[in-house]
């Protein structure tokens, strides 16, 4: 659990982060959204004390984050940034091993951890371990950056626009991978982005920042349904709201009894994808099946349209 209490950061006369308080539950994904200059990155960097706050306290599992020297604190927290920041003079394996080496793990443990992570990220340790970062594609570099951040099995992972430099197709894949790994390790992730789409997709909770202030901190459905201010409303995008709401739900939760003709849609697809497919193919209903191909029922245009309406 991360408790942020009355955190403020001032540079001379400018207040960058203004009295922010919030609690991040363990094993959840918290996305901080805001325009550039909203103070979201500064807030993130105060958690691992890359930036020291002017006032306020941040507690990690009840302990003040100032009870350790800054560098020791940072070794216990994962950190991944936009443009990955890999060390160009170190191989992929050496890059991933950075924090374990700093922590003084023994060689065998480091080696097996590096191999485990590389395999997890679909990078063959034999082939990619000895390569240098510039020999990798952008998507591979990003994966190595996240693997490096997770190397020492941190409970908390801080990410600053980690998908910012990726093209849309690779970005979607990277987001899915991250969610899968978050579920597997139960890591608490705090992710900064300016992209509301990404926030709604990734976040268990979303924190919206504007000019250093936390303007709303709530579940995605809540943010979409009841934006706290005109600023949040703009950020959500009025015409996008129903579709973003649908994108939060899975098809299996919208299944109705009955059958339908044509190609089936998997139960794990988002309701938004299902509606898009229905509209595009001009059908009133789609059959739904689970991973094993077992029919679950069907989704209908009417059913989905009701779900896209503003929640009460």
């Amino acid at each position: 659990m991360i408790e942020i209490e009355g955190i403020t950061k001032r540079y001379d006369a400018t207040t960058v982060v203004d009295d922010v308080s919030m609690v991040i539950e363990p094993r959840t994904v918290c996305v901080i959204v805001g325009t550039s200059g909203s103070g979201k990155t500064t807030l993130l960097r105060m958690i691992n004390r890359l930036v020291e706050p002017t006032a306020g306290v941040i507690k990690l599992d009840g302990n003040d984050n100032r009870s350790l020297p800054g560098y020791e604190l940072r070794r216990s927290i994962g950190y991944a940034i936009q443009g990955h920041g890999l060390f160009p003079h170190r191989t992929v394996a050496q890059n991933i091993a950075t924090v374990p080496v700093l922590l003084g793990w023994d060689k065998d443990r480091i080696k097996s951890r590096v191999e485990e992570l590389m395999t997890l990220y679909q990078l063959d340790p034999e082939a990619y371990g000895p390569r240098y970062p510039h020999e990798l594609s952008g998507g591979q570099q990003q994966r190595v950056g996240v693997a490096r951040a997770l190397a020492a099995e941190p409970n908390v992972l801080l990410m600053d626009e980690p998908f910012g430099a990726l093209d849309p197709i690779i970005r979607t894949k990277a987001q899915e991978d991250l969610l899968a790994i978050q579920k597997r390790f139960g890591t608490t992730i705090i992710l900064v982005t300016h992209d509301m789409e990404e926030a709604v997709h990734m976040g268990d909770k979303i924190a919206v920042m504007d000019s250093g202030k936390l303007v709303q901190y709530a579940k995605p459905e809540e943010i979409l349904a009841r934006p706290a201010s005109a600023f949040v409303e703009t950020l959500v995008g009025a015409s996008e709201k129903p579709f973003r709401l649908l994108s939060l739900g899975r098809v299996r939760d919208a299944v109705e009894k009955g059958t339908a003709e044509g190609e089936a849609i998997p139960g794990d697809a988002s309701q938004r994808d299902a509606l898009a497919e229905l509209l595009w193919s001009g059908r009133p209903a789609l059959p739904v099946k689970d991973e094993d191909g077992k029919p679950l029922g069907r989704v209908t245009v009417d059913g989905l349209v009701k779900r896209a309406a503003r929640p009460a």
């Binding site: 940072r74 070794r75 443009g83 990955h84 890999l86 700093l102």
Partner: protein, 387 residues
């Protein structure tokens, strides 16, 4: 089929044509300071040898002129250079009247132009062969061994520059080691002081402009003026600081030369350290901090290795510059190869000037090749493709 010409080959052939047929190959002088008389290739060499050398250079020039395979060009340049190097010694013996120890034979403009033309051809071939750094150092070693062998064999003993050497063999090596000590010692001192200063300038932004400006100004002071400026303070140190004089610190001599070379060396070292550190990717630095490296770990683990090739480039500049500049040290009694240069100028004996200048140029050249190779190796190490 019309022959196709090599662009550089046209230049080389033109130089060779002029040097072989119109310029003089060797200069004959009755003694070491009178003006010389020119001798062409045919006049300077025995009857059969002169035409042979002419044939070799003409054929080699033809190979350079036309578009020919690299290996052939390599052979042509090496054969021509070897023939020139050996036959200039033959010319020395041939032109010296029997029993005459005053006469001086020295290579003349034609010889130097031929050497230049074929070195150009060799350099071009080596560049096109795209040699690895180690192979380049290997070529340097082979060339040095070949020259050393010619020197030891006595093939060149009849040439004027070696006659000057024979008269000064002891002081030549003494001044040579003094020259190298001055150049390398001041470089070492500049690295020891300059690296931390550069790191400090990188970390403390306010310091940067000030330090670099001061060093820039030092760099613009002419060397002779700097020696002059140092005489007073070093003289004061010698008389007032106990033990300083015993260490050899005096207003003139080695101490001011060392200090001056050290001051000139600082700017390239500090500036390249600052530029190198500034070139470290921001994201890599941020990640290093964010993952819990201490400032020291970040400096030695990330910043320094990434800045190293740039810092090494600064050290290369300093080394080559110092080997050249150390010549001036002789002006204030600092020793080095400059001693022969200034004696030679004083006596209008060009051969003596060359005795100081040629080893200096050779040293600077060798230092440049070796350090370039080292720089390339450190810069490419991290770019090696995994096979």
């Amino acid at each position: 089929m019309t022959p196709r010409f090599d662009k550089l080959g046209v230049v080389i052939a033109a130089i060779v044509a002029y040097a072989a047929f119109f310029a003089s190959f060797a200069t004959f002088r009755a003694n070491r300071i009178v003006p010389g008389e020119a001798r062409s290739i045919l006049e300077a060499l025995p009857a059969a040898v002169g035409p042979l050398l002419l044939a070799i250079v003409v054929v080699a020039a033809m190979i350079a002129l036309l578009k020919t395979p690299l290996v052939l060009r390599l052979v042509a340049s090496v054969v021509a250079l070897a023939a020139l190097a050996i036959l200039i010694g033959v010319a020395g013996t041939f032109l010296t009247p029997a029993g005459n120890t005053f006469a001086r034979i020295s290579p003349a403009s034609g010889f130097w132009l031929l050497i230049f033309a074929f070195t150009l051809l060799l350099a071009d071939v080596l560049t096109r062969l795209n040699l690895s750094p180690l192979a380049r150092v290997g070529v340097l070693v082979v060339a040095a061994l070949a020259i050393g062998l010619l020197l030891v064999s006595g093939q060149w003993d009849s040439l004027s520059i070696l006659k000057e050497y024979a008269n000064r063999a002891d002081s030549f090596w003494a001044e040579g080691s003094k020259h190298i000590t001055l150049a390398l010692g001041s470089l070492a001192a500049a690295v020891i002081v300059g690296l931390p200063l550069g790191i400090l300038c990188h970390r403390v932004e306010r310091l940067r402009a000030g330090v670099l400006n001061v060093l820039n100004i030092v760099q613009t002071i002419p060397s002779i003026a700097l020696f002059g400026l140092l005489i007073a303070p070093l003289g004061w140190v010698a008389t007032h600081v106990p033990g300083a004089a015993a260490l050899g610190i005096r207003g003139i001599g080695t101490a001011p030369a060392f200090v001056a070379l050290f001051l000139y060396s600082l700017l390239p070292v500090v500036a390249n350290t600052v530029v190198g550190l500034a070139g470290v990717p921001r994201a890599a630095n941020d990640a290093a901090r964010g993952m819990g490296m201490t400032d020291r770990q970040r400096l030695f683990g990330v910043e320094f290795p990434l800045a190293f090739p740039v810092i090494l480039t600064g050290i290369r500049i300093v080394l080559v510059q110092n080997i050249g500049l150390a010549t001036i040290a002789a002006l204030i009694g600092g020793g080095g190869f400059g001693v022969f240069v200034f004696q030679g100028v004083g006596q209008t004996a060009m051969d003596l000037v060359l005795l100081g200048a040629v080893p200096t140029v050779a040293l600077a050249f060798a230092a440049a090749i070796i350090l370039d190779a080292v720089i390339e190796m450190t810069a490419t190490k991290r770019r090696v493709e995994t096979a």
